[in-house]
């Protein structure tokens, strides 16, 4: 389209001219012909009809799309956006609201990076998929954490500072709050970046979160809840579409949660459970 033709513009040239798709030199070529060729001008006028009318007509079609059915279909697809709980576990969304809420204590740490994504899909999938609510109150914190972690994207944590001094302080503060020895060196995992420790709360009790970023599997977190009544051996489960290994000892409940495959997650949890001490 860069060469300037010498002959009379064809219909295709006129249409491209009308659509503003011709490079300036070619547009000038068409213009110069139009200026001296009355027949070509008539041709242009014929072809110029119907532009916006087509767009408007197709807008009317959009309104007819069976959007509710399509959304329902989408929600039923495997992997969108989370694995759906089994039908007999379905509970309506309002049940979730009656449970203690996971809240951030640290000011300013909101679902900042995840916000856009969450706004767009969370209400729909919750409403349609229901939320699996554990009957045992010992489990509920894990459900809350899993739902919360399902909102994380790598962008949520990728930009966090990995300054060693800063991290030492941060991890020490979180460890003190939980009554647990939590230096970065003890919770570091091979090949996975340690990103942050922060304190949240669940049901009025402190809940620590150590966030990791795995180059392949994305966000992973070790969460520690300082309210456990019995020791539990490492156990696997799935919640909110995430894989979880959880265990409890010395009054603390732990869960390692992420999209990493279960066997790998179990190995990492085993490593952490051996290292973590009061």
């Amino acid at each position: 389209m860069t060469e300037i033709p010498t002959g009379r513009p064809a219909d295709a040239d006129l249409v491209a001219f009308l659509d503003g798709e011709l490079p300036p030199a070619q547009a000038q070529w068409v213009e110069s012909w139009l200026a001296r060729d009355a027949e070509l001008r008539r041709r242009r006028d014929v072809l110029a009809q119907d532009g916006g009318v087509i767009t408007d007509a197709f807008e009317a079609l959009i309104a007819q799309a069976p959007e509710a059915r399509l959304k329902q279909m989408l929600l039923g697809l495997p992997g969108y956006p989370v694995e759906r709980p089994a039908a007999n576990n379905r509970r309506p969304f309002f049940v979730l609201r009656s449970r203690p809420r996971l809240a951030l204590l640290a000011a300013g740490i909101a679902l900042f990076a995840a916000g856009v994504l969450v706004d767009r899909f969370l209400p729909e999938w919750r409403e349609a998929a229901g939320i699996e609510v554990a009957s045992d109150s010992e489990d509920e914190w894990r459900q809350a954490v899993a739902e919360y972690m399902s909102l994380y994207t790598p962008e949520t944590i990728v930009g966090l500072s990995d300054d060693p001094t800063h991290m030492e302080h941060e991890f020490a503060a979180v460890g003190a709050k939980l009554g647990i020895n939590l230096p970065p060196s003890e919770v570091s995992l091979p090949g996975i970046a340690l990103k942050r420790a922060q304190i949240l709360q669940y049901d009025g009790k402190p809940l620590g979160q150590v966030a990791y970023l795995d180059p392949r599997d994305g966000v992973m977190a070790l969460c520690i809840y300082a309210d456990s009544h019995q020791d539990i051996a490492p156990t696997t489960e799935q919640r909110a579409g995430l894989n979880i290994v959880h265990w409890a000892s010395h009054g603390r409940a732990f869960m390692l949660v992420g999209r990493k495959a279960m066997p790998e997650l179990r190995d990492l949890a085993s490593l952490l459970s051996q290292r973590l001490t009061l």
Binding site: G51, T55, R69, M73, L74, L77, F121, V219
Partner: protein
């Protein structure tokens, strides 16, 4: 980054369903096929979400998936089943007439567009309705830009020929199937 692309696909799919359906309708001329196409596109997009390049346009990526499924799978299946591809009697307008009947002009335009050859119809849809540039249209259809230009010119000529003598407008009731 792979994870981000996957999340973008998952999060973005829902906002493109109606436009995907419309494209499916333009290609197949049938609402049920359009719906099948959207479903197949969603399945494929979720499967291949790691291939989606962050920062590129999700709608274009989804359109190309839908088109590929139509060309390679659904269309051939329909033909094998003897259902035909685009039956003039099951057109955009006929299928959608109930809701559009208050907009006679839109109905007439859609009917005319439906009468165009498939290649012209799709090119016109992508360039004028979806607003793709000639270059993007050519890329989507895997044809030279000159082909896009000549298809659009032919489509415009066909549409302009119909202009002086629009269809006789019958009452809305008689348009129902």
């Amino acid at each position: 980054m792979i994870e981000s692309g996957q999340l973008e696909v998952r999060a973005g799919l829902v906002s493109h369903l109606a436009r995907l359906w419309r494209y499916g309708l333009v290609l197949s001329g049938r609402r049920d096929v359009a719906e099948d196409l959207v479903q197949a596109t969603c399945v494929r997009a979720l499967e291949r979400s790691s291939q989606f390049a962050l920062g590129s346009r999700l709608d274009r990526w989804l359109f190309s998936i839908l088109r590929s499924i139509w060309l390679n799978e659904l269309r051939s299946r329909r033909i094998r089943q003897g259902e035909g591809v685009v039956d003039a009697e099951t057109t955009l307008t006929f299928e959608g007439v109930q809701e559009i009947e208050t907009n006679i002009l839109a109905r007439q335009v859609l009917r005319r567009v439906q009468m165009l050859p498939q290649a012209q119809r799709e090119t016109l849809f992508l360039a004028y309705v979806e607003g793709l540039t000639y270059r993007d249209t050519a890329e989507m259809l895997d044809v030279p830009i000159g082909t896009v230009m000549s298809r659009l010119a032919a489509a415009r000529e066909s549409l302009s020929k119909l202009n002086p003598a629009p269809e006789s407008v019958s009452s809305p009731q008689s348009q129902r199937r």
